[in-house]
Every structure is written in structure tokens, then in C-alpha cells.
Amino acid sequence: PSALAAYCLMLGDDALVLSHRLSQWCSNAPDLEIDIALANIALDLLGQARLLLARAAAADPSVRPALPAGSPVPDEDALAFFRDGHQFRNVRLVEQSSGDFAATIVRLMFFSCWRLALLQRLVDSRDPVLAAIAAKGVKEVAYHRDFAGRWFVTLADGTEESRRRIVGAIELIRPQLAELFTDHPVEAAAVANGFGIAPSSTAAEVDTVVDQLFTAATLQRPQEPISTPEATPSGRDGQHTEALGPMLTEMQSVARAHPTGSW
């Protein structure tokens, strides 16, 4: 596929998969306000995913999976519901089950700090569609980061149990962070062509923001893996953890049972 399409799939899949994980909180959150907030964030990310997947298909129609003749399935749905796991390009961080609320917050905090830094740079993309998607996304993700940051501090400061859970969640997520800041050849091509961002270029800024949040939470930041290079192939290459397959099976089940259906 073209570098632009491949790059849009990466950013789109990140949003789609995390949106799915967050949407699983719906009717399960600790209180109604959190339930509503997490649904909001899931909706924002879903909106970003839809725009990015549509942009990918427009940039290179060959990324659209084959469907039966006469299928009315739009591009965004063909990409979301008819690709297999190894065709997804999201970072592995987003595909894990949400875990408890502490794990959800810690992941959302790291993800939002990182994505905000990316989108802030992406508003200057040479691709006007990407630039517009980024401009819209910046406002949304800034809210996500604030929400996650506020709860990060609240849980770290709250009770012994909530602090223990936050510390455990940080420990669990640690090895999944390096991937966020490792430049993939597609991202390198996107930089070369002026429409994309090297994630490594956001590392210093993200580091600073995360440091501030850890300080506000009076938490010791664990030995930093953000700059550690990834040895093995990553989610960007279609290599995923065991969590993605079952998630996609569920997500795609109705769409795949009716490949010529209208919804």
C-alpha cells in the first residue's frame, strides 16, 4: 500500500482498538460520571478512527479488503470488520484487555500524552485531510489526557488500595511503552514525504509531561523504558499479542455473518 494509506491505518487502528477497549466499560464503570466520560472518549477515538480509515482507503483503494460483489459495505467498515488480525497496524499497547480502572487510566494517560504530541505536530501535515483530522483530534485528546491525568493523581493519592493498584498498573504497562516511540519504516517514509510524524520525535515532550504527572501523583517513575529500542517485530508490522484475535472475533462477528448486509 502507499505510505500515506499505511500511515493512516496505523493511526486509525490505534484509535479503533482503544475505542473498542474503552467501550467495554459501558455500564460497568465505578460510577455514572465515569461511565459517561469513558463512553465519550471511546466515541471521540471512534470518530478519529472512522476518518483515518476512510482516508487510508481513499489514498490507496488497494488496502480495502475484497468483499462479495454488490456488498454495500463502506470503506471504513470494510477495513474495520473485514481485515484479519495480522492486517491491523495498531501498537500492542491498545489491544490488551482494559483490566481494572487503574490499568485503564494508566494506559489512557500514556496513550493520550503520546497521541496528543503526535496530533499537535500532525496539524502541519502536508496531507490536508490528515491535518484536519489532527486539528479536530488535538482538542479531543487534550481532554482525554486531562481526564486520565486527574484520575491518575486521584488514585495515587486516594487510598492505600488505589495507590497499590496504580503502582501495579504502571508496572504492567511498562514493557509495552517502548513500541510507542520506535520509528517504523512507514513512519520514516511519512516523515520523508512531509505528511507524517516520527514518534521518536515526541519522546522528550511526552517524557516531560509524564514526569509532571508522576510528580503530581508523588510516584516514583520506574526506570524509563521509553527510549528502549524494540527488538522484535511490532504491532505496526501486524505482529500482535493474544488479546487482539478474540477482540476482533467479537467485534467483527455480526458484520462478517452478513457480508452483503445493509446497516
Binding site: 479503533l16 473498542h20 467501550s23 467495554q24 459501558c26 455500564s27 460497568n28 464503570a29 465505578p30 460510577d31 455514572l32 460520571e33 465515569i34 461511565d35 459517561i36 463512553a39 465519550n40 471511546a42 466515541l43 471512534l46 470518530g47 478512527a49 472512522r50 480509515l53 459495505v73 463502506p74 471504513e76 467498515d77 474495520a80 470488520f81 481494572d100 480502572f101 493523581v153 486521584t154 488514585l155 493519592d157 486516594g158 487510598t159 488500595e161 488505589s162 493498584r165 467479537e250 467485534m251 462477528s253 455480526v254 458484520a255 452478513h258 452483503t260 448486509g261 445493509s262 446497516w263
Partner: protein, 308 residues
Amino acid sequence: PAQTEEFEAIIARNDRIEPRDWMPAAYRKTLIRQIAQHAHSEIIGMQPEGAWITRAPSLRRKAILLAKVQDEAGHGLYLYSATETLGTSRDDLTRMLIMGRQKYSSIFNYPTPSYADVGTIGWLVDGAAICNQVPLCRTSYGPYGRAMIRICKEESFHQRQGYELLATMMRGTAEQQAMVQESVNRFWWPALMMFGPPDGDSPNTAQSMAWGIKRDTNDALRQKFVDMSVPQAEALGVTFPDPDLRWNADRDHYDFGEPDWEEFWSVVKGNGPCNQQRIEHRKRAYDDGAWVREAATAHAAKVRERAG
């Protein structure tokens, strides 16, 4: 006494009772019961549709469904707030719900085994709810009436979205059309039961109407719903599973069969297909979230303390 006269005067001129006004204890109790039941219904009602969020067959439908279920959480929030103006707390009411000491609409004890159910719930269940709720916008208790105005607006939006999903599916494959009909078959009678037992078996109606808490009888609302729904079904191309359903030109209404009231009471008593599951789900979410709520409370206290 003067208080009672004042109260009855407000009711008589169809004006609103506000939280600061005096009100009879029975009025307050009835209101709390009714609004809490309504709030619980919104919250429990998140489950049967919410189960499909992760399986919605298009991203557009996923967004619509997620936003709708989120709206239900919002409705629950307004309604719990309305009960708080009557001197209760959301936490107390939630505990009453999960201990089975307060009810919610029985419709949510029916399962949603197909995606068409998302549409049917929007069309028939939200449709029936709107018939029940529009009159409540004029209910005598101010905070309740105002919450209902906002809720009804969103509900009719949901109803149109549900109908539109079914209409789209009816233009789709034969399998999709069959899914819609099968879903409507399952939900038609339970939707009719949403208006409550026949007027003769509804002992609280008279008092509630006198207090302006309720504005129409169960049977009148049920008739209105049937009259509204039949032409919509014809437009969709689906039928209702009732051999007695036909236009009665003399009455200027549709005649229709009698719901299975034995089933109704059985579901109300807790023996519906999903009663246990719904309460368990809520209880689990409440219990699992306890540590977060405690942490938030502890953090707020520490912040206040640090602020000196």
C-alpha cells in the same frame, strides 16, 4: 392545615411543586419510588443494548449505539438528581436496586439475542417509554418534570434511530429482514406490557393521577401506542404477532389481543429470562467500583485538608 391547602392549590392550578415546598409524606414517598424506578430502568436498560456495542456491524452504528447507551446513563443521572431533591442519595437507591428492594421496568428482563433487537428496542421500547413519559413532562413535581422534558427529547431521537436501523435492515438481505421480524415478534407483547396492568388491576393510578404525578391511565396509553405503531409496522413491512389486531372503525382505534398477564407478573416477581443477570451485572459493577469511589472520596478529603 395551611400547608396542605397550599399544596393542593398548586396541584389544582397545574403548577409545579418545588423541592423547598411543603409536601405530604405520601406524595414524597410515591415520587421517590416512581423516579427511582425510572432512574433504575435507565441504568438497567443500558445492559441489553450495551451488550451489542462491541459487536455493532458498522462503525456508524457503533457510534450511534454507544452514544445512545451513554444517553441512558445521563438520564439515570438526571433522575437520581431529581430524587436527591427529595432527600435521598444515589448510593442509597443503587443499594436498594441491587438488593432487589426497588424495581425497574420489566422490559429489560427480556434478552437481546440479535442485532435487530437494538432497532426494536429503539422503535418499540423507547416508543412505549415516550408514550408513558411525555405526559410526565407536565408532572406536578418540578425537578422530575424538567428532567422528563430533556429525557423525552433524547428518547424520541433514539426512537427514530431505532426505526431507521430496522428500515435499513428491511432494505437489506432476506436474512436481515427475517432478523427484524423475529425480533419484533419477541418484543411486541413485552412492549405492550410496559404500560402496566389493565386499569382495573392498577390500584395506585387514581391517587397518582389526583396528585398530578401520573396523567393518563395504563389502558389509554397502551391504546395510543398500538394506534401509533401499526402504521409504522406497515411502513416497515413487518407484522405484529397478534391475530386479534385490526382496525375498528366504530371506536376509531385498533382492537388488539390481551397480553399474557401471567407472564407479566411472573417477570415482575423476578422470574423473567434475565432478572438475575441484570441485577448481578449492576451489583458487580457497583462492587468492583467501590475502591475507586472510596479513593475519590479520600483524595477529596486530603485536598480539603491540605488546603487547610
